[in-house]
């Protein structure tokens, strides 16, 4: 998946029903979404959706052109995986009694994670990282016994260190 995914950073009007319009478009055109994150932007008239799509099932040019036809979509930026920094957040509740807790804290701190809740026989940990990194974290937590795990889906911004190459911005309704 890591080789074939595309990241679309979609600026939309912050109005009721916009998520439904975007999600519905993917459904009816048969495009697969790997992950989807939505949040308000620095300007409260707009929200930003970070949509990770499967490049194999979804012809990316058609996806962006069809998305552009949605009236509340203001701008779409297409990020190739290599040109983007991507992060997501993982929280997991792991079985850990008093004797296993310190091991677990050590493990999580390797990934700059934190323990955010502690119970009698479990702890809840939080780690932010790259999608690959979080896969590794999940694998390492598994032997302790994961009772619940959630990931946010990724957010992404263009990579800066690759020079000043401008992003490919696909403006509304332009070719």
């Amino acid at each position: 998946m890591e080789q074939h995914h595309h990241i679309l950073s979609v600026l939309v009007e912050n109005k009721a029903g916009v998520l439904s319009r975007v999600a519905g478009l993917f459904t009816r055109r048969g495009y697969n979404i790997f992950s989807l994150a939505v949040s308000p932007t620095e300007d409260d008239r707009y929200s930003r959706m970070t949509v990770v799509v499967d490049g194999d099932s979804s012809p990316i040019e058609q996806v962006t052109k069809q998305l552009n036809k949605l009236i509340p979509v203001i701008e779409i930026r297409e990020l190739a995986a290599a040109d983007a920094v991507e992060r997501e957040l993982l929280i997991a509740t792991v079985k850990a009694g008093p004797e296993e807790r310190s091991h677990l804290i050590d493990l999580v701190s390797i990934f700059d994670g934190q323990v955010i809740d502690v119970g009698v026989a479990s702890v809840t940990v939080m780690v932010a990282g790259t999608p690959d990194g979080l896969d590794a974290v999940a694998d390492l937590l598994a032997p302790y016994g994961i009772s619940e795990l959630q990931r946010t889906g990724r957010v992404a911004l263009p990579r800066l260190i690759r020079g000043s190459r401008p992003l490919k911005a696909v403006k509304s309704s332009e070719q």
Binding site: E13, G17, R21, Q62, Q66, L70, I71, S172, Q175
Partner: protein, 572 residues
Amino acid sequence: MKLTGAQALIKSLELEGTEVVFGLPGGAILPVYDPLIDSSIRHILVRHEQGAGHMAEGYAHATGRPGVAIVTSGPAATNIVTPLCDAYMDSIPLVVITGQVPYSVIGTDAFQECDTVGITMPVTKHNWLITDPADIPEIVREAFHVATTGRPGPVLIDIPKDIAIDSMDWYWPDAVDLPGYKPTNKISTKLIKDAARLMGTAKKPVIYAGGGILKARAAEALRELAEMTGIPVVTTLMARGAFPDRHDLCLGMPGMHGNYTAITALQEADLLIALGSRFDDRVTGKVDAFAPNAKIIHVDIDPAEIGKVRRPDVPIVGDCRRVIEELVKAVRSDLEKRHWPDLIPWWSEIRTWQRDFPLYYEQEEDGPLKPQFVIEKLRDLSPDDTIVASGVGQHQMWASQHWKFDYPYTWVNSGGLGTMGFSVPAAIGAKVGRPDRTVWSIDGDGCFQMTAQELVTASAEQIPIKVAILNNAYLGMVRQWQEMFYEERYSEVYLSPDLPDYVKWAEAMGCVAFRVDAPEDVAPTIEKANAITDRPVVIDFRTDYREKVFPMVPAGASNSDVLPGPTPNGAK
């Protein structure tokens, strides 16, 4: 000035130039129907909300202006989903207004509540749920703007009952503000030059004209381009009339039931100039085998159509009329600079196909009535600018094949969605928009039974359309497929010629009605029908159920494998 939401809505419709709305009142839309009494807008009371939608479509087809329909919430809204989808597929500008339960009870499963905005999202260009009466003028302006600009399409405004009752301070916005909606208006000069250059090298070019020509009001521009270059033109089902059938350069309709010459010219071409057409599967047949040697110039207002099915060599996004006008200039200057290839060898191939494979059927003097014969008589005995509205099926294909469309906006049909029952209400809408014209609905017996009740509307509102039912007592197109591809195993396609009795039924709906069985009665009955101008007329033509539509490209087959059907001299 204080107005209720309902008054603001009607006033906004008036300011958008609405002269007629098609609709049917009900609980949630009641407040909107009250100010309608005092409005200049004509209201046509339909018998089913689907009829309102198709009438609005027929009106838009015939006039180029957006069709407007008003219905209530719940079942009325779901009844109009089919016309919305039909208009979405065929890029017809519609503004549909639906009532909704009061905003305060949305989400409680109130009486006649349904999620209209949610249901219609995939079948509208955009839709709005009004949550504040102050937004009404702005939303109505936006709705008409979105429906009629760029690639046209249907839009829907859902208005909750309490919003229609509440008052607002009236204003009328100067302009629309839609930051995410900016239809293309720049045309690339470089690509226009590339297109002209490519046209100037082609030895077997064909202009593949689609419905976009009509939407862009580009028929005259198209004619200029064709005459200047001598390039043959095919007109798709959605573009019939965009280029005159009687013109020497016209090859007629391509596609699954197109004529042999149009199909084969596309297939053998070395250049397709696709103007407002979308490489629909009914035109291309098997996509991988479509026009294998052709380079493609593709012009469309919708960027998403470019490269969706076939990657063009020259992609041009823009309004068809403006692009063609630019193309005409570029071609003129290119023609001055160099010699374009001689198209005589190409034309002589085309003329051979036309000679060997014309559309063909045989009407025996005492034999059963052939549907094609009925259509030819209708054509010959009606004014040249008659508007023809058809349903979907065999009769639609025969009408498209055998009518001679010499004027734009004279062919009203359901292309993309293939909506049976489209014809009668669409013909009514067309007649409302063009009362000066003769309007014939050419319908099948299966289609007629789906929406015939709108003839009550036509009688009550004095909209004198004429209906020719090609009654073969079958769901004919399905029968044809079962005969050809399911070993003549006929499953649920028989309808009976006499049940219902179409003449009695039409008379009960206030129409004048005739029945015709014999070929010699066809012409005199049509003449009688054409002479009646104060009431709707229905003719029940009893046609031969064995007649099939040819040529035919079987589903999924290459256009090179077209079955030509019977030919006058047995050519194959």
